[in-house]
């Protein structure tokens, strides 16, 4: 089911190009012909956007773990997972592993905090959600405009497991956030949301692959994005319903706005279905800001730029409103508002 070849930053031959169908819109080879030199050490610095929500922390600085790399959750817990990059022209890889024990409830607050320039970051996260456990993963990504980063999350859901994910990003030179999720046993429930706000010539690629291997699983996906200037937003969502995964209910939507003349959106939603007792749907729209709404707001005395920002905000906030944890929702809201 893997949509990605195994990328190894020390071997340029493993970098996918657009000739690989799953990387059609994110040509890593084009921007990275040779393996980067390994990054040196970095300081952890500021406490990160989710500091006030407390909990445990896993921290990587230029790929080097500051303490543990694995976490096993039981009961109700909060974990901050921080990928800190502060490098110039070098590359680093980080890998974390997270397990939620049966019945556990984990709030996983992940941040990608990038400084420096032109670095290459490769992050891997493995998440196991045991029987009746729940994991809420919220990811905030802020990187320099000339950085390259690839993040791959592999999520496995056991029977009755619940998984909630919201990725919010402002892009980079080439950025891929990939989530591979499998419904390994009956009655699991997944929500995979995404939000991108891209300016300048930034790029992001939100790719998800959801594999329904067992019966009665549900998947709900909402991704929204806005591109300005010459930015490029990519959404690829694949839902597979395997033979025998009856009773699957999977829904996916991607809505994007191009807020400039030369912005670009590429979308590829896929339904691959081998079971007949299913309900599957996807919707995909690309449009521009509603001129009549813009006019209406300006009529009320609000300047054009502000009116635009208001409409963009209203459009994007729908994704954030789906976050169930109130405190985390507030942090994400404020984080995004500051970047509109």
């Amino acid at each position: 089911m893997s949509a990605a070849p195994q990328i190894d930053l020390t071997n340029a031959e493993t970098f996918p190009s657009r000739r690989t169908e799953a990387w059609k819109y994110s040509d890593m080879k084009r921007w990275l012909r040779e393996a980067p030199e390994p990054s040196g050490t970095a300081l952890v610095g500021a406490p990160g956007p989710f500091y006030d929500l407390g909990g445990e922390a896993i921290v990587f600085a230029n790929g080097r773990p500051v303490g543990v790399t694995d976490f096993i959750a039981s009961g109700v817990q909060t974990l901050r997972l921080r990928f800190i990059s502060d490098a110039v022209g070098t590359g680093h890889t980080a890998a974390a592993r997270i397990v939620a024990r049966p019945g556990a409830r984990l709030l996983l607050l992940e941040t990608h905090e990038g400084k420096g320039s032109a670095y290459v970051a490769h992050n891997k996260v493995e998440i196991d959600v045991a029987r009746d456990a729940e994991v809420t993963r919220i990811v905030l990504i802020e990187e320099p405009e000339d950085a390259i980063s690839v993040t791959n999350a592999e999520v496995r859901l056991e029977a009755g497991g619940r998984y909630r994910q919201t990725v919010v990003t402002t892009g980079a030179k080439l950025q891929r956030i990939e989530t591979q999720l499998s419904h390994g046993a009956e009655g699991a429930d997944a929500r995979l949301d995404g939000l991108y706000l891209l300016k300048g010539s930034r790029h992001t690629d939100l790719t998800t692959v959801v594999d329904h291997r067992a019966a009665d699983g549900t998947t709900s996906q909402l991704t929204k994005g806005v591109v300005h200037d010459t930015a490029r937003g990519v959404f690829q969502g694949k839902i597979i319903v395997e033979r025998g995964a009856d009773g699957t209910d999977a829904r996916m939507a991607h809505n994007a706005l191009i807020a400039s003349e030369r912005g670009e959106i590429d979308a590829k939603p896929e339904l691959i279905i081998y079971a007949d007792d299913v309900q599957c749907a996807h919707g995909n729209t690309v449009g521009t800001l509603d001129e009549s709404a813009l006019f209406y707001i300006q009529q009320r005395g609000i300047p054009a730029d502000e009116a635009r920002a208001l409409l963009v905000q209203a459009f994007l906030f729908e994704v954030i409103d789906r976050i169930e944890d109130e405190a985390a929702k507030e942090v994400v809201r404020a984080w995004l508002t500051a970047r509109l």
Binding site: E21, R243, A256, I258, A259, S260, E261, R262, G263, E264, I265, D266, A267, K268, P269, E270, L271, I272, I273, Y274, A275, D276, D277, V278, Q279, C280, A281, H282, G283, N284, T285, V286, G287, T288
Partner: protein, 488 residues
Amino acid sequence: MAAVKETVEAVAALEKYEHGFTSDIETEYAPRGLNADIIRFISEKKGEPEWMLEWRLAAYERWLAMEEPTWAAVKYEPVDYQDLFYYAAPKQKEGPKSLDEVDPELLAVYAKLGIPLGEQAVLAGVEGAPRYAVDAVFDSVSVVTTFKAELAKVGVIFMPISEALREYPDLVRQYLGSVVPVSDNYFAALNSAVFSDGSFVYIPPGVKCPMELSTYFRINASQTGQFERTLIIADKGSYVSYLEGCTAPMRDENQLHAAVVEIVALDDAEVKYSTVQNWYPGDAEGKGGIYNFVTKRADCRGDRSKVSWTQVETGSAVTWKYPSCILKGEESSGEFYSIAITNGHQQADTGTKMIHLGKNSKSRIIAKAVSAGKSDSTYRGLVSVHPKATGVRNFTQCDSLLIGKECGSHTIPYIEARNGSAQLEHEATTTRLSEDQLFYAQQRGLSEEEAVALLVNGFVRDVMQKLPMEFAVEAQKLVAISLEGSVG
């Protein structure tokens, strides 16, 4: 009681693939295999101008350098391109063809298929019945084209492409390969090298073609490939509706059908192209059947030009085709209406591409897929908006229906938007046949198979309505036949 009788007949027709008979017609073949000499042989047989032979040989060179693509979601035994006959023609008298001179056995084949080749027969038909002109292509050659004289009166050229190459070489040369270039893809290159026959249509400026034009393709000879080439040119302000039908005998072997269809629509022209594809799908175990690897593309060159593709795909073991529109003209529009029904071991990977290059160009895609048995069906489509195309609109809807536990249905729509003023909408659903509706229909006395046919016909109704009347009736029956054995 007419309805009852019709139902009884429809059910009787469910028995098997009714076009699966073979006809014992004396046939002339080219030697088996493919090389430059075979291409010279075909070109010579057709009495083609020198440039055409050069064109074919160049295509052959390109083809040799290409690799067979494997990206489609279909699996099939590799084709041995050296083990095919590239030219098979029924033997017949030389000289100009009129209906009287056509081998009566050939006419009998078309009569059996229900294709009216006698103009009189059509005229003497039911009062008010619409007439349509037919170009009948049998293996590698066109055997007869009807209503040519009547069409010529309004300036419409409708003839086999091999004949057009002799009579209107400049016109053919101007447009051939201008929509689907020789090296467009592996099968288009192969077709360019060895294409044998197909239809040529030219509608002069301002002319609304007075009747439906149609081509009826029949593969008869065994171990042959059919490589037809169709070229339709709608000049400024003209209109034509064109129908295409296909059948083949039941054979254990797989036969290759690699066609190319090119449509050119100039300013304000409109072309409506409808296909009912009913090639032999193979038997219940998946043995035999046609490989249908087709390139169909329309070039909406003119401003306000319009091309509409409607297809009902029920046949073939493997189908691989994407009728597309290049929307170059300002305010040009493209439409794609498709019904793809797969049963048994059939595989279909089909859809469309709408390439928006012109300002304010519009497109609409409605695709319905029904999968039953152990079949697999994929909708694959692309809507792309280029940077200079402002004001583009697209609406796409793909619905899939699954019947049974062993089939598959897939939807892969690509959207590539490079202009801020584009408005693109896509929606797709996949569901199974509703138990409640099936139960309800059976309560009213329909058998399970009839109930399925009724519900499926309802599911595909949006597209069915886009078909010309002559085809709609046939297509509706075809839906029922294709789903035979899919339940119970």
